[in-house]
């Protein structure tokens, strides 16, 4: 990964990756930290001559793995606290609060599955590979997450779409 590729990746993919990880962790500071750490690791790997086929997915996977560590979260929160105090937080919009709350109600794995699917557009197979689980488990988790999010956000589906979705499932 040379500088041009790195700058392009940061410009094109960084915001969405941070957003995705933040939706899982519920904390933007720790998400930024995890994504940055993942990018640096990817950078080091490519310098060592290793090939990373899908960089954004690799970074997402590593960032989510990193964010799972409670110790890391605590450390990042501790480091981020002064910044948070110094900069008054911008009140999130109503919908952002609703989404965050609905996601927070999900178990972590369902939350990850939902974010990987709806924010990062990963397929069931890709999610299963990333989470090292079976596609059946992913489908099951996604189904539950989708149902909960639809209820929590009062989402309504066109009957035709629903039939189409049911058939597709």
């Amino acid at each position: 990964m040379d500088e041009v590729e790195l700058r392009e990746f940061v410009r094109e993919r960084y915001p969405r990756l941070v957003g995705a990880v933040a939706l899982v962790t519920g904390d933007a500071a720790s998400a930024e930290d995890a994504v940055q750490e993942a990018i640096v690791r990817a950078w080091e790997r490519t310098e060592r001559g290793e090939q990373i086929a899908a960089l954004d997915r690799w970074v997402a996977a590593v960032a989510l793995n990193l964010s799972r560590s409670r110790l890391r979260r605590l450390r990042v929160e501790r480091l981020a606290r002064p910044k948070l105090v110094a900069a008054p937080p911008v009140p999130p919009s109503g919908d952002r609060v609703d989404i965050a709350r609905a996601l927070a109600e999900l178990p972590r794995r369902q939350r990850e599955v939902a974010v990987l699917r709806y924010v990062l557009d990963l397929s069931t197979q890709e999610i299963a590979k990333q989470m090292r689980t079976s596609e059946g488990t992913v489908k099951s988790q996604l189904f539950k997450a989708r149902s909960h999010l639809a209820d929590a956000l009062s989402l309504v589906e066109d009957p035709d779409e629903e039939n189409s979705h049911a058939e597709h499932r």
Partner: protein, 534 residues
Amino acid sequence: MPSIDDQLRTRMREAAPQPAGADDLVEHLGARKRRRAGVRRAGTVGLVVVVLVATTGAFVALGRAFRTEPIPGTIPTPSQTPPDLGLGFPICDVMSMPITVAGTLGNAYVFTKATDGCPKPGEGHRFVGADLDGNGTVDATAPELTDCFSPVGCEAFAAPDVNGDGTSEIAVSTAGADGYGVWLYAVTTSPAAVEPVKVELPPGFKGFIHAGPLQFAWVDVVGHFGGAHCVTFDDGSTGFVIDSGDKLGSTAEVSSEVFTLEGSIMRALDAGTRTLPLSDLPLPGTTLCGAPLYGSASNFPNAAPDPKTVDIGLDAPLCDVSTLKADFDGDGKQDTAWVGSFAKNGRCSTGDTSDAIVAVDLDGDGLADGSYDTLPRCLLCRTYAATDLNADGASELVVLLQASSTPEYAIYGASSVTGSDSPGMSPMLVSAGNAENGFPDGSQLTFSAGGDEGYSSAVQCEGYPNAPVLVLWRSEHPVEGPGADVTDFYETKLQLVSGSFAVVDARHFTQPTSDPSPFGLTSQACGVDWFSLA
């Protein structure tokens, strides 16, 4: 009206927190990368950041883990019985190389002060000294060497004459992940001294070598190289050139800085950058200004095998190897199972998740048999336990897939048990599965123990050892808000039959979250301590 999927897609993307401006993020990442290198340097894995240029491609990270005993060079090296060098204190781990001092043959030594035995390479107090007249005693030493990284430590690197004055300079190296960091020492006879060479820069000079003690990289890896060579100026004098470059496809951007050595002062004369085809690069080799390299560098760029690797006869040696011995095929003999990750170019990377493999030696020749299975993106994967899960006299292998607060496990069996066509170790699959409980047909059996916010899991066992049934528990509930007061429980019983695990019973029920859980996170079940990471 958009589908629920589309609505979720749109709303979640809009709701995703956006990071602050990323104008200087690349520079920030570069600094972070340097910090990581610094952290690794502070640890047991040697890593040196030698050259910093003000671009993102300007990081020279060195740090290679070689075996602790230097490879015999053109002329040799560590003395088994430390010679008496007249130092007045015991020494060990001595490396020597011949030097020329104003036409007289002498020797340079790199040695460690022995205190209660000999410290490991990279530890203790290590010095460079010189015998100026070849009489077997050290006439001068330099201040203690620092930054001698484990596991190799500092070595005698070469004895070039970089200014053509007829007296060798002494180059000392420390090995890192990708190559070497090299220091230079000047030798003088009157008075006898070995002094570190220091860089002096003219006012306003812009180059990539900083003022102060000289250190340069000796590295040639994919994407980057660093080295040094001597040149002869028009007036017949000798200059010393330090090169650094990033290989970019068919060309490389090469930064070079030209010096002249006067005494122990390396004065910068010129610096520049040029684009060269890869075939014309001034790559480092096995000589420095015509002087041969010693120690582990004598094979440069082919590193000695990493001492942390284990060779089990596959394409590359394994790193981070865990080994478990048990009778996996039921022949009454102990077999060996390994979990490890392939070394890259003979070296072990550090710290990161990486693919691992599961391999086994069933015939006792010390080499892996047949095929191996790959475990993608392992986080501390390792062999965990061996236990007979179908009472057939052959043990199954439990592999830890992820060491965390929720460790995940997989079961492997020898091909004679799983019925696989390929000899070796195969992952156990689920047959007659139960998708609702998370064990669909045909999937690899993986499960966890432990827990995190909102979910937990455990392993129990029935009928062991005569008719074992694996009982896998999982529970989950929203962490807070609606539904948090009710927990879903999934209990799945699986039996190993004909090489795969069949779900023989499964249930799903709910109970108030405040009620006691029907399972504990830790257990001793089917002969294994689960969720025991100690």
